[in-house]
Every structure is written in C-alpha cells, then in structure tokens.
C-alpha cells in the first residue's frame, strides 16, 4: 500500500525522488572532486616534489648545514639498488643561500642536480616553460621558477649572484646565468628553488662526489612502507623518510578534506531532510480522513507508523541509486577527460599546490557511509510525519 501511495501524487513523489537523486548526485560529485584533488595532490607530491622516500643525514633536516651529507653516495647507491622495489635514485645537494640581482635579494634553496635523473625524478623537464635547461657544455647555469623570475625581473640569460656557506662555513659567492624558467603546480616552491649542476655546486661548497639527499622512486605507491623499512635496517646511521613524513601537511590535508566532504554531505542532507519532511507532512495532511478511517477499522498504530516510514523509504531508495548512478557516470566521464578548474583561479589552486586539471575519482569507499547518511536522513525526516499520522484521532478525522 505504501508503494501504491507513492503513485498517488506523482508530481510530489517525483519531486522527492528527484531531490534525493540530486542531493546524492551533488554529494557524490563533491566527494569525487575532492577525491580527485587529493589523488592529484598526492601524485604531485610523489612525482614532482619529494619522491616516495628520501634519505638524509640525521641532523640535516633540523639544521640543514652544508656539512651534513650522507657520505660517499656512490657506495650507498650500489647498496640500495639491491632493493627490488626501487626504480630510481636521485642525488641532490641542498644549500640554503641568498640570491642577489640589481633588483634586490631573495632567500633561496639551491639544489645541485644531475640533470637527467632530476628530470625523471621531479618531472623538471616538463616544468620548464622557457629555455633549455642545464646544457652539458655550458657552465654556471641555473633554472629558476617563474615566480622568482617575475619577482626579481629575471629573464633567460640574465645574470644572478648566489651566496651560500661552504662546509667550513665560509661564504661563497658565485655568478650564474638563467638558462631556463620552470613552473610547477606548487607556487611557493617556485619562488624558492633554484636548480644548478651538482658537480659545480659540489666544487663550490667543497663536497664533490657527495650529496645531502637521496630521493627514491618506487615501482608502486603501496611499496612505500615496506621499502622504507628495508632502507632503515640497511642504513642505520641515516634518516629514512617516506613522503608522508616529509610532507605531513599533505596527509593532514587528505584527512581534513575527508572531514569536510562529510560536513558538506550532511549540509546537503539537512536541506533534503526538510524537503522530505515538508512533502511527507503534506501527504499526511491530505490523507487525514483516510488514515483516520483505517485507524477506525482497527489498524494498529505501529502499522500506520510503518506505512509512512515505508513510503518515505521507497522514495529514498528510488531516488538514491539514480543519483549515485548519475554521480558515478559523471565522475567516470571527467575521470577520463579531466576537469579543468582553472576557472576557479589558477593562481589560487597553485598556491595550495594543486593542479588545475583534476581527474575526479568516484569515491567508492565512501559510498557506504554516504548511503548510511542518506538512509538516516530519510528515516529521521519521516519520523515526524509518521508521528503525526499516529496521533490522528479517528473520530476527528472522520467528522465532516
């Protein structure tokens, strides 16, 4: 009978079903977008920033003084290579310093890199927007970020002076020329990081053949913990960190966004709940006499209560899958084509380290909690109409 009642006022039932479907769709879409943003952020961190695992001198991360290297890196690399999960090892020298040009000065981090492995490790080549990168035959070249270039009014071929300490804490000054300008998805880093040749930097600071950081790429994201464990036992004197350790804000962001998405779901559902409540109340009021009549005939209050509940349940169950399906189709579509969010402001997105092209992911693992929220919403919003229905007195309802 509850089922038949749904068809009684088709428009009204349709409105409920469509709004539940829309609510579900909006919820799924928001979750998919967030999920996509998070996946993309994690990819950016791993593929372009930290890699899967990094190895440093234990004191380096606190004091980052030039002298804290990881020792003879060639031997180390030979040793590490035996771990099967590892696909790429990238050496870097890291020095904090000062950049000065006629325009002014800026604090920077100078990264000494081996061009080819760095290209693989942090997708540096793809980030280069102007210029050729570090060409082997030329000396004292530097790749700088677009933001820094704009701030310091630097162009390809511009001269810049870098100052930093060597291992003995003596100040070193060296002149470089801008050979390329890069742009990543992480604007704050673009203002700080300058890439130069590792051999040249090593000579300048007196650490040829050594490095401060080994960046490691793995075959699969899932291998991170296992590989890190192996490395830790292999290299007791060094600090082994996964991308989660290095970039805890990413991990934190993922969790915060999870919470946010539930809050958004709950807001959507609250709006829905009022819609359901209102519509069901109307449906009950319209049927005052009928409900009074079946109560007079001897229908127990429990049954009348269930009738109203069931009616709402049917509407929800008809609406929710449609919404989820629509959400799934849309998420899948944009998962393939990508969703260009540059309209939201490329500047803003990159300040938070996000790409503007997002590939939404259908939040399959969140489906159960989302459905639970929907079912609870429908249940709660039908409680009041159901109570109203059982409070109707048959004689009042039947009187003309």
């Amino acid at each position: 009978m509850a089922w038949r009642n749904i068809w009684r006022n088709k428009t009204r039932s349709l409105v409920i079903m469509v709004s539940i479907a829309l609510g579900m769709f909006a919820g799924v879409a928001v979750l998919a977008l967030y999920e996509g943003m998070m996946v993309s952020r994690i990819r950016t961190v791993i593929d372009e920033e930290t890699g899967h695992i990094q190895i440093h001198h234990p004191k380096f991360s606190e004091e980052s003084e030039t002298k804290y290297t990881i020792g003879n890196s060639r031997d180390l690399i030979q040793k590490i290579k035996t771990i099967p999960e590892i696909t790429l090892i990238n050496q870097r020298q890291l020095v904090n310093g000062m950049l000065s040009t006629p325009t002014g000065t800026a604090g920077v981090q100078i990264i000494g890199v081996d061009t080819l492995t760095e290209y693989d490790f942090s997708s540096l080549k793809q980030k280069i927007r102007e210029g050729n990168g570090l060409v082997p035959d030329k000396h004292h070249q530097a790749i700088i970020g677009m933001k820094l270039a704009a701030k310091m009014k630097l162009r390809i071929g511009s001269k810049l002076v870098l100052m930093f300490n060597d291992t003995t804490n003596d100040l070193v000054t060296a002149a470089f020329r801008v050979s390329a300008i890069y742009r990543s998805t992480n604007a704050p880093l673009d203002e700080r990081l300058i890439y130069v040749s590792r051999d040249e930097l090593g000579e300048l600071i007196g650490l040829a053949g050594q490095c401060h950081q080994l960046g490691i790429k793995l075959r699969d994201d899932k291998d991170v913990e296992a590989a890190a464990r192996k490395l830790k036992s292999m290299l007791p004197g060094l600090k082994v960190q996964t991308w989660k350790d290095i970039s805890p804000e990413t991990e934190f962001m993922v969790r915060t966004v999870d919470t946010y998405s539930y809050i958004i779901m709950i807001i959507i559902m609250t709006a829905l709940a009022f819609g359901i409540l209102n519509t069901m109340l109307m449906a009950i009021m319209e049927r005052t006499r009928e409900i009074g009549m079946i109560a007079a005939l001897g229908t127990s209050r429990k049954r009348i209560f269930l009738l109203v509940l069931l009616e709402t349940a049917f509407l929800t169950l008809a609406g929710a899958p449609a919404g989820i399906l629509a959400g799934w189709l849309t998420a899948n579509y944009f998962h393939k084509t990508g969703l260009d969010l540059s309209g939201m402001g490329e500047e803003m997105m990159s300040n938070f380290g996000f790409r503007t092209l997002i590939y939404p992911e259908f939040p399959a693992e969140k489906l159960i909690p989302v459905l639970t929220i929907v079912v609870i919403t429908a249940f709660l919003s039908s409680l009041l109409p159901a109570m109203k229905a059982i409070r109707m007195k048959p004689i009042d309802a039947l009187r003309n």
């Binding site: 009978m1 038949r4 009642n5 068809w7 009684r8 006499r289 009928e290 009549m293 079946i294 109560a295 007079a296 005939l297 001897g298 229908t299 127990s300 209050r301 049954r303 048959p394 004689i395 039947l398 009187r399 003309n400």
Partner: protein, 236 residues
C-alpha cells in the same frame, strides 16, 4: 445474555465539560440483540454519530459502560481497543470509506490482511462477499472507477470480511441517490436475513427508515422512542 451483542449501561457523553457543556448523549440504555436490523434516527445534532462512535469504540463515554458481547470496552487500553475493533466491529462510514490506491478487492481484504488471514482464506471470502454485494465483475476496479453506491457496497463487504459481531453504519446512504440507496439496503437486508448479520445504522432518510425492523429515535441525546416494526416486506 449471549444473544445481546450491544449493551449500553447508562452512558453519557459530554462535550466541552469546562465551558458550555453539551450533552451529546445522556443516560442511554440500549440493548441490541444478535440479528437485529436497527435504524437510529433523530434530528441533526441529536447524538446519532456520537452514539455510534461510542459503541464502535472510537470514543469513550464520560459515564456508564458499554458491553460488546460481554466485554466492557470502556475499560480497554487504546491498543487493546484497536485490536478489539479489528476483530469484533464492522464499520461503514458515510463517505471516504475506501482507500483510493487499492482495488475494490484489496480494500475489502484490508481487514483480513490486518488480521493475518491466509491468502486462500481471503480468496474464498472475497469471492463469496463480492457475489453477495453483486460486484464480482468490479473486484479489480479502483474506487474512482466505481459509483458511490458501488463503493458503499464494497465498504459493506469490507465490514463483513472479518465476520464481526455487528456492523455499524453512520448514514451509509447519505451521499447516494435513491436507487443506489435502496440497492444498498437490499444487500444489507439480504445479509441480515440470510446470514443473521446484526446491523445498526443511523439515517435521515425516510425510505431507509421504512426498511428497518427496529427504529430508535434520539432526541437531545436521549432515547425518545424505540419501536419494533411489524415486518411487512418479508420476501417469499
């Protein structure tokens, strides 16, 4: 005792007891025996509906007791009362009797479903009842597709489906044209004679009153006259 189905003991029902009290029913003593075919008449506002509601357990008297087949229904809890109505009393209301989304047959079955009767039992009973109300061909029609008279006949079938002690009908013919009204009365009359079903119905309509075999007149909530009509219209 056993053939007295309805027995009201000095019942009264007062509306608005705190402001201007209205005695809708005042000290009514009434005995209805099994198999009676009784009309409850009286001017508008005389308390007919109130009395039927009290007997039907839809309302409680402010004084007195009501015994249905020996059970004092004024002492039953609301839940028990609902169940008592379901198993003992058949109702036919003046209008909005049927649930529009169910077919005639489903409407008539409704009470049996609530009682948890088996499908087979319901099936045979429905066949029999729709035959008796002469609507076998309309079993699967929705109420909207039936005339007012046909709807009331379905309501009678529903009232009888559970084999109640008696059927209460508050102005069952009020919304019917005279042909449909007399047709409905024919069916009630037949069920009364052939199956010994007890009917108590209120009415304003003289032609309906003429069909009753006992007429109780209410005036200002009190029984004014109570007459057994000499049966002149017996068939055969």
């Amino acid at each position: 005792m056993s053939d007295i189905v309805i027995d009201t003991h000095n019942i009264s029902r007062v509306y608005n007891p705190t402001t201007i009290p209205i005695y809708a029913i005042r000290n009514v003593h009434l005995h209805i025996k099994r198999g009676e075919f009784t009309a409850l008449v009286g001017p508008s506002g005389s308390g007919k509906t109130t009395l039927l509601n009290l007997i039907g357990g839809l309302d409680k008297p402010d004084e007195g007791q009501i015994f249905i087949n020996g059970t004092d229904i004024t002492t039953l809890s609301p839940g028990k009362l609902i169940d008592f109505r379901l198993h003992n009393i058949g109702f036919v209301f003046q209008s909005f009797n049927l649930i529009p989304v169910l077919t005639a047959r489903e409407n008539a079955e409704f009470i049996m479903l609530l009682q948890g009767k088996s499908k087979a039992e319901r099936g045979t009973r429905m066949k029999q009842l729709f035959n008796q109300i002469d609507l076998e061909d309309k079993m699967d029609s929705r109420p909207g597709e039936l005339s007012g008279g046909q709807q009331q006949r379905v309501a009678v079938a529903r009232a009888l489906a559970s084999k109640p002690q008696f059927v209460l009908a508050d102005e069952p013919t009020a919304n019917l044209d005279s042909k449909s009204a007399s047709n409905l009365l024919d069916i009630m009359d037949k069920l009364n004679r052939e199956e010994n079903i007890t009917f108590l119905f209120s009415t304003h309509d003289q032609r309906v009153i003429d069909r009753a075999r006992r007429v109780i007149t209410l005036v200002d909530g009190q029984v004014a006259t109570d007459t057994n009509v000499i049966d002149t219209s017996a068939p055969h």
